[in-house]
């Protein structure tokens, strides 16, 4: 469902972030993207979110060529992709419920739909009791659960997680991984960029390793690092 074909991305300042990437990510797959800082993980994600355009190559999403998309059409693609960030990016002046409802409001969902679906998603991430709390009253793990709830409330086909456990202690990180796995089992494709070696090693999932803008390894049941 996601195909990178000979993708090259060179930024205006001359930095070649991605150099001839060829990838095929199937529907419902769970993929780790690993690599040191500057390896090209962020650029890979930005390409999918249409934040940047590739310099050359082709990019397909759901069988559609999205290499070049008109600005007007970008939101339509983004609605099919949920995103979770390391720093949660919640709105501090909105409650948990409102933060999640916000994602539905801005795509024009009716009040009825919002009232029906937001509680379902909140119970899925285990935050029903915290619905009326504000982000500053939550722990890091809870904040990340809210951001996951927001990412999936519009039923995306792909969930992109950019270092979702980066700010969390190992136990909480484990809980978040369980939640992401659960979402994956429901059929959502998951692409997770991470530095967390122990998580990658324990999950035994597909691992795409990037280095200096190239795919250096793509194993179906991979680990973080071969050399170890």
């Amino acid at each position: 469902m996601i195909i990178f074909k000979n993708i090259i991305k060179e930024y205006n300042n001359g930095v070649k972030a991605l150099n001839n990437i060829n990838l095929h990510i199937g529907k419902g797959e769970f993929v780790f993207v690993v690599g040191s800082s500057g390896a090209g993980k962020s650029t890979l994600i930005k390409l999918l979110l249409k934040e940047v355009e590739p310099t050359s190559g082709k990019l397909f999403f759901n069988k559609k060529d999205i290499t070049k998309v008109k600005n007007r059409k970008v939101p339509i693609i983004r609605r099919k992709i949920g995103v979770v960030f390391q720093d949660f990016r919640l709105l501090p002046n909105k409650t948990v419920y409102e933060n999640v409802a916000f994602a539905k409001e801005i795509i024009g969902a009716s009040a009825k739909e919002i009232r029906r679906q937001v509680p379902i998603v909140l119970s899925m991430v285990g935050l029903s009791k915290k619905a009326s709390s504000y982000p500053n009253q939550l722990s890091g793990g809870e904040k990340q659960r809210v951001s996951i709830a927001r990412a999936i409330v519009n039923n995306p086909t792909v969930l992109i997680a950019d270092e979702p456990t980066g700010n969390l202690d190992p136990d909480t990180a484990g809980d978040i991984m369980d939640l992401i796995m659960q979402i994956n089992r429901r059929g959502t494709t998951v692409i997770m960029a991470t530095h967390a070696k122990d998580i990658v090693d324990s999950m035994q999932r597909r691992v795409i390793a990037l280095s200096k803008g190239k795919v250096v390894r793509d194993d179906q049941r991979g680990v973080y690092d071969h050399e170890v």
Binding site: R78, R89, I107, S110
Partner: protein, 300 residues
């Protein structure tokens, strides 16, 4: 449809919130729109009144009075009349005999007209009063008349009209420049005000983009904020200009300057026009201001 309405409702609400959040800048924006439009209003009223005066006095100005020499014959007079009738733009030519001229003068002098009775000889010349279709023909007709023999004097009022028009043109052009500058300042201030709202909501906008909000949805509240600032500014200007004009009108009326106010356009006649003009310009300034502040920001 209901979805669009719901979105619009939340946008309007956010527009108000944004305006309230930086009250001082909003006040500055409203003030700048108001002052630009107030000056526009004054100029507009001035021009309207000048036009009114010129229109009302035009009938007095589109006449040409020619006085004939004493020694010309009746045949010559007939030729002159026929000649004049053929000129372009001449509506009518009326002959005034010496006796008629004397009668008119007597009427004008009223009680002192007895003085005229003592005259041994009628001193008034024979004359023609030429009525023009429009004042614009005056120059041509006069230059033709100058070529005729038997004419003593030509009197017409083009000069006065010309002066009024040129004065009003100077006022018009000068104030257009001032208004233009004030409008640019208003746009600049509004765009800065909205930039502050945008900055305050940067995080929210960022999230909106990732969740797939359309650019229109993101821009909407800011454009509405601009429209609100422009609308309030122009509404204030309408009220202030109207009150000021009515006040001046009343003072002049009370102080027996009725001859001035009789030439003035009553404020009711122009109120609707002023409202339409002000609202259009105010809203236009608001929209422009917000578009300028958003143009660079919302790319991603």
């Amino acid at each position: 449809m209901t979805m669009k309405f719901r979105i619009l409702k939340s946008m309007i609400k956010q527009g108000f919130v944004g305006m309230w959040r930086n009250r001082m800048m909003s006040l500055a924006s409203i003030g700048s729109v108001t002052s630009a439009l107030m000056i526009l209003g004054m100029v507009l009223i001035l021009i309207l009144n000048i036009n009114n005066v010129t229109n009302m006095t035009k009938e007095q100005f589109d006449e040409i009075h020619i006085y004939l020499k004493e020694d010309i014959t009746d045949e010559q007079i007939d030729t002159i009349e026929n000649e004049i009738q053929n000129y372009e733009g001449v509506l009518s030519v009326v002959f005034q005999s010496k006796e008629q001229a004397l009668e008119i003068m007597k009427k004008r002098w009223g009680e002192e007209s007895d003085l005229l009775n003592g005259l041994e000889e009628n001193p008034f010349p024979r004359s023609y009063i030429i009525q023009l279709e429009d004042i614009k023909y005056a120059d041509n007709v006069v230059s033709n008349l100058e070529g005729l023999s038997g004419i003593d004097k030509i009197k017409y009022f083009k000069d006065i009209v010309k002066r009024i028009i040129s004065v009003s043109n100077v006022i018009k052009n000068g104030s257009l420049i001032v208004i233009g500058i004030l409008m640019l300042i208003s746009i600049f201030i509004i765009s800065n005000t909205i930039k502050i709202t945008v900055a305050a909501r940067k995080k929210e906008i960022n999230i909106m983009k990732y969740v797939g909000a359309t650019n229109g949805y993101i821009r909407g509240p800011f454009i509405i904020e601009g429209i609100l600032l422009g609308t309030i500014g122009s509404a204030l200007a309408v009220i202030l200009v109207d009150v000021a004009y009515q006040y001046i009108y009343k003072i002049l009326n009370n102080r027996l300057y009725v001859f001035v106010t009789s030439y003035m356009v009553p404020s009711d006649d122009i109120f609707i026009d002023v409202v339409i003009i002000f609202m259009t310009i105010g809203i236009g300034i608001g929209i422009l201001g917000s578009i300028i502040s958003l143009r660079r920001f919302l790319r991603v």
